[in-house]
């Protein structure tokens, strides 16, 4: 069985600081990490590899040359192969363009039974790329998977809803997006780190190499444009004491919280 896992290198948003004047992210000193949900995606692929015979896991990513580090980490966790799609022409890709580019890499690999993506990335938080890849490849998708079972060619997944679950069945080939609840990702092994950096374990490809029309990717191939970014309005912590009877206090509080869209 061939499993492809899509991985995105993202800035660690937990450490993010925003330039208060320009309203942009201060990227300097911000650690780059494998997107957390993508780790769950990779873990699930590796779990299947651990439990079944003849499973090959290929990690793919699109990004600047430095994104290679994320793939080394994927190898150190146990992926068999890794491919990085990198080119200046890809810069500025929105989710649709990204999915187009990654689909080209997947077609280039050719043989696959399962594709795993993380549910969403912590930077863009769109959850678009998985379903968009599935659409480009014309295969079914199951998103936000919290539990997974494989029976021959059939996949049975527990897909999370707001207030419960769907149990969804589909045949391979198929794309799944992993929720955090799906598993507990392993760490890269120390041995894997030293092996991952050796030689040319990561295959670097350009859009040309994977038959990807550069006009369909990058800024040119992106239907959306970011007009501006700005810091969220800072709410000052001014204490407001709510007076009156308990019922009045309760009513006032809920009114305030509703106004602020908190409840």
């Amino acid at each position: 069985m061939n499993i492809i896992v899509c991985i995105k290198q993202v800035p660690d948003t937990n450490e993010a600081k925003i330039d208060p004047v320009r309203g942009t992210l201060i990227r300097e000193g911000l650690p780059s990490i494998i997107n957390p949900d993508d780790r769950n995606a990779l873990e699930e692929a590796l779990r299947i590899k651990d439990e079944m015979e003849g499973v090959k896991v290929t990690a793919i990513s699109m990004g600047p040359p430095q994104a290679e580090i994320a793939l080394v980490e994927a190898l150190a966790m146990g992926a068999d192969e890794a491919i990085l799609l990198t080119d200046r022409a890809l810069a500025g890709s929105d989710t649709l363009a990204t999915s187009t580019a990654l689909s080209a890499v997947i077609r280039y690999i050719g043989d696959f039974d399962l594709i795993f993506c993380g549910r969403q990335a912590i930077d863009g938080e769109t959850a678009h790329v998985g379903p968009q890849i599935a659409e480009h490849l014309n295969i079914p998708q199951i998103t936000c998977v919290e539990e997974l079972k494989i029976e021959g060619r059939r996949v049975i997944a527990k897909r999370a809803l707001e207030d419960g679950y769907f149990i969804v069945e589909a045949e391979m080939p198929l794309l799944l997006t992993a929720a955090k609840e799906l598993n507990q990702p392993r760490y890269p092994s120390i041995k894997g780190i030293f092996e991952g950096f050796k030689g040319d374990r990561i295959k670097i490809v350009s859009p040309n190499d994977v038959n990807c029309d550069v006009t369909t990717v990058g800024l040119e191939g992106s239907p959306t444009r970011v007009v501006e970014t700005f810091p969220p309005p800072i709410k000052s912590r001014d204490l407001e004491m709510l007076e009156g009877s308990p019922a009045e206090q309760a009513r006032q509080l809920l009114q305030r919280l509703r106004e602020e869209k908190i409840v």
């Binding site: 800035p11 948003t13 993010a16 600081k17 925003i18 992210l25 989710t95 649709l96 912590i122 930077d123 863009g124 938080e125 769109t126 959850a127 678009h128 659409e135 295969i139 079914p140 998708q141 998103t143 936000c144 527990k158 897909r159 809803l161 707001e162 207030d163 419960g164 769907f166 149990i167 969804v168 069945e169 589909a170 992106s222 239907p223 959306t224 444009r225 970011v226 007009v227 501006e228 970014t229 700005f230 810091p231 969220p232 709410k235 912590r237 001014d238 204490l239 407001e240 004491m241 709510l242 308990p246 019922a247 206090q249 309760a250 009513r251 509080l253 809920l254 602020e260 869209k261 409840v263």
Partner: protein, 339 residues
Amino acid sequence: MAVKENILAHKGVWVFAEQREGNLLNVGLELLGEGRKIADKLGVELTAVLLGHRIEALAGRLIKYGADRVIYAEHELLATYTTDAYTGVICELINERKPEIMLLGATSTGRDLAPRISARIHTGLTADCTKLDLDLENRRLIQTLPTFGDNLMATIITPNHRPQMATVRPGVMERAPYDEKREGIIEKIKPELSQEHIRARVVKTIKGGKAQVKLEEAKIIVSGGRGVKGPEGFKLIKELAEKLGGVVGASRAAVDEGWIDKAHLVGQTGKTVRPDLYIACGISGAIQHLAGMKESKCIVAINKDKNAPIFKIADYGIVGDLYEIIPALISELDNTKNN
């Protein structure tokens, strides 16, 4: 310009009115409220797209909530959401009728469906918008959304592709008032669908059964401290937390007294949390506790002692007995829900 012509060929605002088990989700009504404003400014029709089985009655309600037209796709295979069936039906409609804007709720369904549609139609999509504006001159939807772990807001447009698609965060937009007298067109269509179209099949629906949300990931936390006075009080705390869709936290004092398990501990020796709402009940606000929750977006303090340090970092303060305030909050929540 060719692009311009292409854009002008698209007219109308569409809203996906999601139903589950024959009930409309609130977010669909909220989108109608917002969609109504946008459609009026553009001078176009507002259309609700409803997919399901034997739910005619819902179509009428969508008119009353502001839609000019409802396209109701009726099929037994549309009763429950599946990616394949819904994507197919909606994409055919879009290709046929060419709306300029399509809004969906950022629900588990909307976020599964919207990207699939956008890829098939080849148009731009934004995720989880919290604000929509209009650039009337260019007929552009100005979409604003939080990004980078809520550290940054981004404004995004889809200049040259139509429809402009967005998923919108539930609970953010105002729904339009229900207008009994409103009239509109209900178009019922019967798409051709068969089981083979649906490659990922929903074989079972499970209600509830969600694992307890982790404290660190909870959006709402109701916490109790020494002022809760005993394990009984935590039942009250829990009731409020559940009503708000949140989880229960606790201060060191309450954990040490054995009123609640250590897993709920917030603070220096427990979990560090950053929820949207933190309600501290009977918690004085020792520095150990503050260290674990002071980054919460909104802090509500309920305490008998008006000098309690917790009030120093709170946004809203209530001086009073939590045994009176919490029941009042619970009944207030019940009241508004019933209306």
